[in-house]
Symmetry: C2
Subunit: 135 residues, 2 copies
DNA sequence: TTTAAACTCTCTAGTCACTATAGAGTCAAG
DNA sequence: CTTGACTCTATAGTGACTAGAGAGTTTAAA
């Protein structure tokens, strides 16, 4: 199949597929006489693997490592779980940050009745102050 | 004061300060005879305002709008709170996404005892499957 | 006074994971 | 034989910086 069909089958854009090839996440394929890339069912599966990993917010370099493991059947499997748990730590850390942000933003929003003019806006005053807002 | 002092006073790097000027978040300053940028206390305050907004993950274009409001003392203040509540929605949406991710990653991690070889790794099998993992 | 260090200037390129063009070539249907 | 859909490569843009080259300026010590 050609790149367009792979694209519709996987939901990855044509440019993204070519980009993954350039980044060595997809192997270079055969080409047709007219220099079109040719794919098969294994390509679909491979690309869907990548897509699933991306949907878990794994970086391309994390995915590259997972792909290497995937094609090293005798490697110890705890490398896989080690990678995933370090990634879950990235996610958890980011969640913490964002919840903290949410609190601060909510406090800011509550600090002003939002009925006057900018001149007296408590939100802007709080943003100007360097210390953290008390809730 | 010169850019280096502004940098240490605010904790923004020299390059970042120049970048903010290029992006019109900081006004163009006076220059010394030797073409060095010169700043004053108002610059410090202005830059700290930006820094505080960035620490709340506001985008530079959101900050540009806030800065405009900040220098329009008679504008209605609800524009400020409107902007902040739309931003808090960005944050909340991202938190939702990440919590969902965390769940999926945790399920994946639990799906494999991680004691065999890659060949039998349930994590990789689950990543290969296209449907979502059941927890 | 010289000279070295520390600072500043502009300009360019790199980061990440794409996305969006431009301009050219290929292929199938009508 | 032409039209249109598809594909190719190469390049530039996104956001918010960061890093570096190569040149000029200032300050302090030797
Ligand atoms: Zn990660
Ligand atoms: Zn207000
Ligand atoms: Zn926002
Ligand atoms: Zn496993």
């Amino acid at each position: 199949m050609k790149i367009g069909e792979l694209s519709t089958l996987t939901g990855c854009s044509v440019q993204t597929i070519r980009y993954y090839e350039k980044e060595h996440l997809l192997p270079k394929t055969q080409r047709s006489e007219g220099n079109f890339r040719l794919y098969d069912d294994a390509s679909v599966e491979h690309l869907l693997f990548i897509k699933r990993c991306r949907s878990l917010d794994l970086s391309l370099s994390e995915i590259r490592q997972l792909l290497e493991l995937r094609y090293s059947p005798n490697a110890p499997c705890d490398e896989v779980s080690h990678m995933l748990s370090s990634h879950i730590n990235h996610v958890r850390a980011r969640i913490e940050e964002l919840i903290n942000l949410e609190d601060q933003l909510a406090s800011l929003l509550h600090s002003c009745p939002s009925q006057g003019t900018v001149k007296k806006c408590e939100i802007l005053k709080n943003l100007t102050a360097t210390q953290k807002i008390m809730s």
